[in-house]
């Protein structure tokens, strides 16, 4: 199963292999690039689903005491908006880049476990469809993306809504853990000769850190969800107060996952802009080791700050003080990154094509989110700001301004590598400016709505509270932001065919992925190149050496693992097993399990190479 294909002595095979292009070839693909594209398209689809939910929320809040949608529908909308944007958009869109870019950056022919990679994707797709299928039953999750116990108990939410959420997230968690394992193994083991860890591009570094966070944080929420499932399906009492259970346990478990999760969302973006900013400044990243260590440090400290989400819970002054201090400390490595990005640009020759605009936008806007974070890291201030729109403003500045815009930067940056064509610069600039204006107009007024007493997760607000103006500004902003996303869609769509065709390294970047043809061959590298520095393409001598290896047409193509549909079958079995739990029939999941076992068995006996 561990089809490690990128070993130095690549097996070769007589007769050139031509790439299949039919639908079946996509369904059975184990190529990291195709899986990356599928990850992107799926998450991009869910981006519009989550965006639509956001628009409904904003229309509802446009006027006080509005009833555009009912309270119950509203609660489903904000729950699914949060769940979708975190688990079905920001995470998998980052994974799309992990998939496509990391093997190219480190000089590998594929990820360490190509079929496992396909399995991750299919589980993600089925899990995403499963949780959204709840809409068909009128039972979409409605207890917010944090799903605080004991609101999620059978007593208070007897419907199926919570169960769709528990099971959907459990399925998605499997996908994330498998992905994490795969990328850690890939980055540790499959680097090209000379690609030392401290020569890796920052994006690959942040992928490594994020992957460690994935395999450590996701199991924590899995535990929380399984306890909740036991409470609901089997009458256990983990969160049940009358039996001595404690709903606060959920909050600890959830945020013990939830805060590393924040860094799972933001670190890939930090990685992207750490590659983009040097490219468009024509200077190497300033303080490379410091930026790497800061990222690792953020990953570590990120585990020790979870209770800053719980300052109002009543944990006592000692615990609160500890989490105040640990949270403030994490501001230091974050600040270091920002200063290093600025120093990278200092003295450079800065160009501003769209990827750079978004990268610079991230630095500017993320800083706002980071600073409002410092405000509510101060526990007594947080007593006011917690669960208010101020916090909604804060985390959208971090997750949209920081994470999503970073992914947009990566999208414009690597699109020519994926397609061989540039995205339209004109449309790109329109997209950037409408995003900046729409985003800031949506979320900046929310600071004020929060300061003036608007709680979050609120279906409506009373006219006397005078919050209408702030909410109207946000709604107008949301429409502009929504429009900007349509521009992005159009730009992607038209650039596939009409984008300007370019050579392998249109941005004159320094890293390895730009040394191979665009789009790359399915085997990426005819022979594994040898690198001697962090920016092999910026040194003329090294560049010539590398390109002699990466651009050669081999007489015999390297043999790549053969396609398989068993990953999809197994993913379906896993989803089915979880879904059948909802029937309440004790043996029903066993049927799903048998199906999964059959899939795994067949997978194991299908040869990796044809």
């Amino acid at each position: 199963m561990s089809t490690t294909v990128a070993t130095e002595t690549a097996q070769t095979h007589a007769g050139a292999h031509t790439e299949d292009t039919g639908l079946w070839s996509w369904v059975t693909t184990v190529d990291h690039k195709r899986i990356g594209i599928m990850y992107f398209l799926t998450s991009f689809f869910f981006f519009f689903v989550g965006g639509l939910e956001a628009m409904l929320i904003r229309i509802q809040l446009m006027r006080p005491e509005n009833a555009f949608i009912s309270a119950e529908t509203y609660n489903q909308m904000f729950t699914m908006h949060g769940t979708t944007m975190v688990f079905l958009v920001a995470m998998p869109m980052a994974v799309a880049f992990f998939n496509y870019i990391v093997p190219l950056q480190i000089g590998a022919r594929d990820v360490a476990f190509p079929r496992l990679n396909a399995l991750s994707y299919w589980i993600f797709l089925f899990g995403g469809l499963f949780i959204n299928s709840s809409f068909l039953f009128g039972a979409a999750p409605n207890t917010s993306w944090v799903g605080y116990a004991n609101l999620t108990s059978l007593q208070f939410e007897p419907g199926r809504n919570v169960e769709f959420w528990i099971i959907g997230l459990s399925i998605l968690g499997i996908s994330s853990i498998l992905g994490g394992v795969n990328f850690i193994t890939t980055i540790i083991n499959l680097r090209a000769p000379g690609m030392k860890l401290m020569r890796m591009p920052l994006f690959s570094w942040m992928t490594l850190v994020t992957s460690f966070l994935l395999i450590t944080a996701i199991p924590v929420i899995a535990v929380a969800l399984i306890l909740l499932a036991f409470d609901r399906f089997f009458g256990a009492n983990f969160y049940e107060v009358t039996a001595g259970g404690d709903p606060i346990l959920w909050q600890h478990l959830f945020w013990l996952f939830g805060h590393p999760e924040v860094y799972i969302l933001i670190l890939p973006s930090f990685g992207i802009i750490s590659d983009v900013i040097p490219t468009f400044s024509k200077k190497p990243l300033f303080g490379y080791p410091v930026v790497v260590y800061a990222g690792i440090l953020i990953g570590f400290i990120g585990w020790g700050v979870w209770s800053h989400h719980m300052f109002t819970v009543g944990l006592g002054p000692i615990a609160d003080s500890f989490f105040v201090a640990s949270t403030m400390i994490i501001a230091i490595p974050t600040g270091i990154k920002i200063f290093n990005w600025l120093a990278t640009m200092w003295g450079g020759a800065i160009r501003f094509p769209t990827p750079m605009l978004f990268a610079v936008g991230v630095v500017a806007v993320f800083t706002v989110g980071g600073l409002s974070g410092i405000m509510h890291a101060s526990a007594p201030i947080d007593l006011q700001q917690h669960d208010s729109y101020f916090v909604v403003a804060h985390f959208h500045y971090v997750l949209v301004g920081g994470a999503l815009m970073g992914l947009f930067s990566g999208l414009y940056y690597w699109f020519p590598k994926v397609t061989g064509r540039l995205m339209s610069e004109t449309l790109g600039k329109w997209h950037f400016w409408t995003t900046m204006i729409g985003f800031n107009l949506t979320f900046f007024p929310m600071h004020f709505a929060g300061l003036f007493g608007m709680p979050r997760r609120t279906w409506t607000y009373q006219a006397e509270l005078n919050l209408e103006t702030w909410n109207q500004l946000s709604t107008v902003g949301a429409f502009i932001f929504g429009f900007s996303s349509l521009l992005l869609f159009w730009n992607l769509f038209r650039s596939l065919k009409k984008g300007e065709a370019v050579d392998p390294n249109p941005w004159k970047s320094g890293t390895l992925e730009w040394s191979i043809p665009s789009p790359p061959h399915h085997y990426n590298f005819p022979v594994l190149p040898e690198v001697r520095s962090r920016e092999p393409l910026w040194d003329d001598a090294e560049r010539a050496e590398v390109e002699a290896q990466t651009l050669m047409e081999p007489e015999q193509e390297p043999v790549m693992p053969s396609p398989s549909f068993w990953p999809m079958v197994v993913a379906f079995g896993i989803t089915l097993t979880w879904a059948l739990i909802m029937t309440g029939i004790w043996w029903a999941p066993l049927a799903g399990l048998a199906f999964t076992a059959y899939g795994i068995f067949s997978w194991a006996f299908q040869p990796a190479f044809r």
């Binding site: 200077k283 819970v313 403030m328 600040g335 501003f352 405000m375 101060s378 201030i381 007493g453 997760r457």
Partner: protein, 393 residues
Amino acid sequence: MKNGKLLRWMKRAGVLLTVAMLSACGEEYLQSTIDPVTDFGEVSHNLYVQVFWWTMIILAVVWALMAYILIRFREKPGQDRPKQIHGHMGLEIAWTIAPAIIVVAIVIPTIQGVFETQRPPDEDALVVEVTGKRYWWNFHFPEQGVTTANELHLPVGRPISLRLESGDVIHSFWVPQLGGKRDVNPVVAVPEGEEPKRNWMHFTIKEEGVFWGQCAEFCGEAHSLMGIRVVAESEEEFQAWLTDWHTPAPTANAPEPVGGQADTERPAGEPGAEAQTAVNQAVAEDPLVARGREVFFRETTCVLCHAIQGTAAPGIIGPNLTRMGSRSTIAAGMLENTPENLALWIKDPLSVKPGSEMPGAQYGAAIAGVQYPATNLNDEQIQALAAYLSSMR
């Protein structure tokens, strides 16, 4: 282009800030977090102001630096590859230590504030037991034996200690001008002999006024409709309010000759004089109010859930209705307290508050697993009920 971009940023920030400042000054925000009226609120607010300026300084430095870089170092036509600089140890140390110093400057007063806002309660504090329920608030003064709902009267100038407890899911008590919020957790069952854990909030109110608040932890369908009013008044007014509560409203019970409630508590007084008052009342009483009282006690099941001090109504499931007519709002701050709104609420509570556990005229409700039937009240009965409840001022 770079210049244009910078200008647009600055313009946008400037316009937003101006709009913000103007409207922040011109408008009245009933739930403002930056206009505290208690010692507790001031601790949070003083810290907020301090940290606000720190963050503004940092933001100004980062943005100014960035603006300078983006203008100064943009690529010039025909420019050579710039000097390749890989880092600078001194700078790295500098921008590690500088933020660290700021962090320490924020953490020290913060931790002081943490301990100040969670100090032990004053011995002589006025204790109020606050119970959050889906979707209303119960306020009980254990020492005064007073129970009321949604509208909390408190004296100014006296330490107050709220003991917070949930009757169902987690809520959060947030009246921004009184200070920050505190979660209202269900009390976890503990082994015998151990003290169950409850959250407390302590503060002394410095100004009279009516302060708005609401539940701040998502608690279900009508979470957004779970308002709080705090009426902060002088000690005399507060004492008068307590006395009023203990004294049944004149219309609470039927006048004696008409055959009122045998088991009602009446304030001590001259038997003769009392009978005389009752007769006078009977003469003066609005027939609609009398009719409403009959509906309340005899024709439907209000008393299963609701209590009125000094009458035969003992229910504890729903809000206590003593002196209902004197409250400013109904349905936890959602409707102005008028007979028309009361009638609407009694007839069709779900139209006001989806998810409410109050049975309506046409539909029942399940409360803690027990099914309560529809009240089946007609409009005449509802009008009368509203008149009765409004009369108890």
